[in-house]
């Protein structure tokens, strides 16, 4: 391989320009700058990396070949859900989040990066309308981090060190929350009722004087809608605990937001709002509260607020309320870093594009498709929907009485170009041969019919 004398990503690569710069520095070689690294610390060999693909054309070809080994959810008919969903991404969203002024910006001040501050303030504001709460943060890493932080906030506010969560909550999120809350905050669980909603009858027994928060997902991981939120909020309040609700923003055009049934902190995942799935890599988390000092000062994330300028313009900046309570370690305000700002801007574009009608129609349309599909599946021999509770856009489907495992069924569906709902058995040992089926607003009747037909064939065989 010929030795390069220039590289497109390294303008000052060539010997001549380097010599010119060295002269101005007063050094004779770039090696001089590294003399501070002693010999024993030097890496002496050749990095174990493949030979470079230097030309852009060859790089593109190489990686496109790798991409060709994938089958995307849009090349099949996918009914996968469970925390990540194949909603439609409006072209405007991709257009705006690929603008390099947003894509390649970072941490400038509210002057040169005014656009980013305004876009994120507007994102916070539109989320606030969905959630009907006056404070919403700049996005954190994902809905799971948002839930973890919301629970730690509750612990700081109440001074207590336990939280109560549904036993059937998103199992990966449960693991992550336990990781995040340890070692100082413990996680208790409360069982579901027969219809897979929270068993509110058990609440009084499960809430203790150490419970900082009652946490629910609504809709639940298994898709059901909790309708007794008011009861839960009351029980929590009587116990001196906060009520934390992790909700799905794609539902909030049609469903009452958590603040409408007594939640103190709302949190959740913004992926459904115009963000491609990226194999689970397109995520952002929101946390929202009332506009009260005791809540606002507990946010570790950035909060952008609106401010006046000398010339009557809209200005913005950090609401960086100086922390006044570091007296105990428990009050230390977690951490904050580079998280998901571009996705926040994207979600803003999405919400403005959808508007009130779009969000209402989205919610209604998802519920209709889910009910339609569930009815059709329940009509198949041996197939059962193990809940009578209302569900939003996904629901569990039990195949136990068909004599076939979900694994086998899904393999057969795959051959037919269909991604069946994911198998719940590994995460729910008590729930055998049950899959979680999700619908998207892009599913046509023909798509759903194709699934039903395929299943009918597979179950007969």
């Amino acid at each position: 391989m010929s030795k390069l004398n220039s590289h497109p990503y390294i303008p000052n690569f060539g010997a001549e320009i380097q010599a010119e710069m060295l002269r101005e520095i007063g050094a004779t070689s770039v090696d001089e700058f590294f003399e501070c690294i002693p010999d024993e610390l030097r890496f002496k060999g050749k990095l174990d990396l493949p030979e470079p693909i230097l030309s852009e054309a060859a790089l593109k070809r190489h990686i496109e070949k790798i991409a060709a080994k994938n089958t995307s959810a849009n090349e099949a008919i996918s009914f996968l859900g469970g925390g990540c969903w194949n909603h439609y991404v409006p072209a405007s969203c991709d257009e705006i989040n690929s603008r390099s002024e947003f894509l390649t910006a970072y941490a400038g001040d509210p002057y040169e990066d005014h656009g980013r501050f305004q876009a994120l303030f507007e994102y916070e504001s539109m989320m606030a309308e969905l959630l009907e709460m006056d404070v919403c943060n700049v996005p954190t890493y994902d809905g799971t981090q948002a839930a973890g932080t919301a629970l730690r906030m509750a612990a700081r506010i109440t001074g207590r060190n336990r939280v109560l969560v549904p036993a059937l909550m998103n199992p990966d999120r449960m693991k992550a929350i336990k990781t995040y809350l340890s070692p100082d905050i413990s996680v208790d669980t409360i069982e579901a009722a027969n219809d897979l909603t929270l068993d509110t009858a058990r609440l009084k027994n499960k809430l203790t004087s150490d419970t900082a928060a009652l946490f629910i997902e609504n809709p639940a991981f298994l898709g059901v809608i909790e309708t007794r939120g008011g009861e839960m909020a009351r029980a929590a309040r009587e116990n001196g605990s906060l009520f934390v609700v992790c909700c799905d923003p794609s539902s909030l055009g049609a469903l009452t937001p958590p603040s409408g049934y007594g939640a103190d902190i709302a949190c959740g995942e913004i992926q459904p709002l115009g963000i491609h799935m990226h194999y689970g890599g397109g995520r952002g988390g929101f946390i929202a509260t009332r506009d009260e000092e005791q809540y606002v000062q507990e946010f570790p994330s950035r909060l952008f607020g609106i401010a006046p300028t000398t010339h009557g313009e809209w200005g913005f900046g950090d609401v960086a309320w100086e922390r006044t309570s570091f007296a105990k370690r428990e009050n230390a305000k977690e951490f904050v870093g580079t998280a998901a700002a571009l996705w926040g801007i994207t979600a803003g574009v999405y919400l403005a594009t959808m508007g009130p009608s779009g969000m209402a129609e989205l919610g209604t349309g998802l519920m209709r498709r889910a009910r339609h599909l569930a009815n059709k599946l329940a009509a198949l021999p041996g197939v059962r929907i193990p809940t009578t509770a209302p569900f939003f856009k996904e629901f569990p489907v039990c195949f136990r009485d068909t004599g076939k495992s979900v694994e086998a069924i899904n393999k057969a569906l795959l051959v037919r170009g269909i991604f069946g709902g994911h198998d719940l058995s590994p995460d729910y040992p008590n729930v055998q041969n049950t899959a979680l089926y999700a619908v998207s607003e892009t599913h046509t009747q023909a798509d759903m019919d194709a699934l039903v037909r395929a299943l009918a064939e597979i179950l007969k065989a």
Partner: protein, 385 residues
């Protein structure tokens, strides 16, 4: 929202005259006469004028504040030199040099006028005089014009004093207030080569947060919150060791600790705490030694924080902790507290020890786990002066 800001200026005209001619301090008529004979020229006024000029440049808009100045050399002259029209407070002295009572009088008058801030040009002595009038009620700021200054109530330079004053008067939220130690130096002893400093009290001064908008990471705790955090965690540790005799030194951070332990006493000296209660206040060396003897061979721990602007941990403001006392406690029983801001103000310099016993100072050298927050420590060096 736009009533004009009111600012006071008091100059101690004789401050700093000793230094340049090899004298330490200028209290007392004889020393002043000697200084003048040696050709000492009043400098404080010039420095005050520098501060005012910096303030005018920085202020938006420049002529908004009402300036009250002491008469004649006590501020009127400096204001005129800086081009800042002033309302004169008090009368010019017709005979003799100005003294502490003039400073106090001027301060009291200005406080009656409702000034937001009093700038004073001088040294430790002037700070002490200002304190006698203002206590902790009135926000003040020192323009350094003395010899070596030990009180923490001064800006780094006259220009910095002006800039900080401008920021404070503009009401920007970037400026908070904090308490700063006022050190009382025994000038006569100082002239004899012995530095004896006691903590005289605290002045309330403006303090700028070193922050700009556009954060990448979250915002930090305020000085007050930092001190409260330290106080809370140390108080808990103290309560957990009732058998130990705790000698709690003076300083703004330990003051917070004493308040956390429920003490509302003088807060300027060494207080003793044992078995869940205070056992003695503002103790002197003899009292401390007696108490240690009574307490028996059990553990004695000394809680310290750097006092004043120079980073002294021992030897300024807590001489009651004599070498004998410190030896009885033992180096391992020195508990050091400091807010991160205090450590950063040392700009990389060490904490200092000047117990009067150089051998002891040398023994005490080394790194200490300075308590800088709840469950947070900084390894910081202590050196003999």
């Amino acid at each position: 929202m736009t009533s004009r800001a009111r600012l006071g200026l008091i100059v101690n005209p004789i401050a700093g005259m000793g230094g340049r001619v090899g004298l330490k301090g200028t209290d007392g008529g004889d020393t002043l006469r000697l200084a003048v004979e040696r050709g000492a020229v009043p400098r404080a006024g010039e420095r005050a004028a520098q501060a005012l000029r910096a303030l005018l440049e920085r202020r938006e808009p420049p002529d908004d504040a009402v300036l009250y100045a002491g008469a004649g050399e006590m501020g009127e002259r400096a204001a005129r030199d800086a081009g800042f029209a002033a309302v004169i407070v008090g009368k010019k002295r017709t005979c003799g040099p100005t003294g502490p009572e003039d400073t106090r009088e001027a301060a009291l008058r200005m406080m009656e006028e409702g000034v937001s801030l009093i700038l004073f040009a001088g040294g430790d002595g002037t700070a002490r005089d200002i304190h006698a009038a203002a206590g902790e009620r009135q926000t003040v700021l020192g323009i350094p014009a003395g010899v070596k200054i030990h009180s923490a109530a001064f800006a780094r330079s006259p220009a910095q004093a002006g800039i900080l004053a401008a920021l404070y008067l503009s009401g920007r939220s970037a400026v908070r207030e904090r308490l700063a130690e006022v050190m009382d130096i025994d000038e006569e002893a100082y002239r004899g080569g012995v530095l004896r400093a006691t903590l005289y009290g605290y002045l309330r001064i403006p303090h700028e947060r070193g922050r700009v908008q556009g954060l990448k990471a979250g915002s930090p705790a305020s000085e007050g919150a930092q001190a409260a955090a330290i106080a809370a965690s140390v108080a808990a540790a103290i309560q957990a060791e009732p058998e130990t005799l705790w000698l709690i030194g003076a300083g703004s951070t330990t003051r917070c600790l004493k308040e956390a332990l429920g003490d509302s006493g003088a807060l300027l000296g060494i207080d003793a705490y044992m078995g869940g209660a205070f056992a003695g206040w503002d103790m002197n060396e003899r009292g401390i030694l007696n108490m240690i003897a009574k307490h028996g061979a059990r553990q004695v721990k000394i809680v310290l924080t750097p006092i004043g602007g120079q980073g002294f941990l021992l030897g300024r403001g807590n001489q009651q902790l004599s070498p004998e006392v410190i030896r009885l406690a033992g180096k391992q029983n020195l508990v050091v507290l400091a807010t991160p801001n205090k450590l950063h103000a040392l700009a990389g310099g060490p904490l200092l020890s000047d117990t009067g016993d150089p051998a002891l100072d040398a023994e005490l050298e080394g790194y200490y786990r300075v308590i800088t927050g709840c469950e947070q420590f900084s390894m910081y060096a202590l050196r003999a002066v």
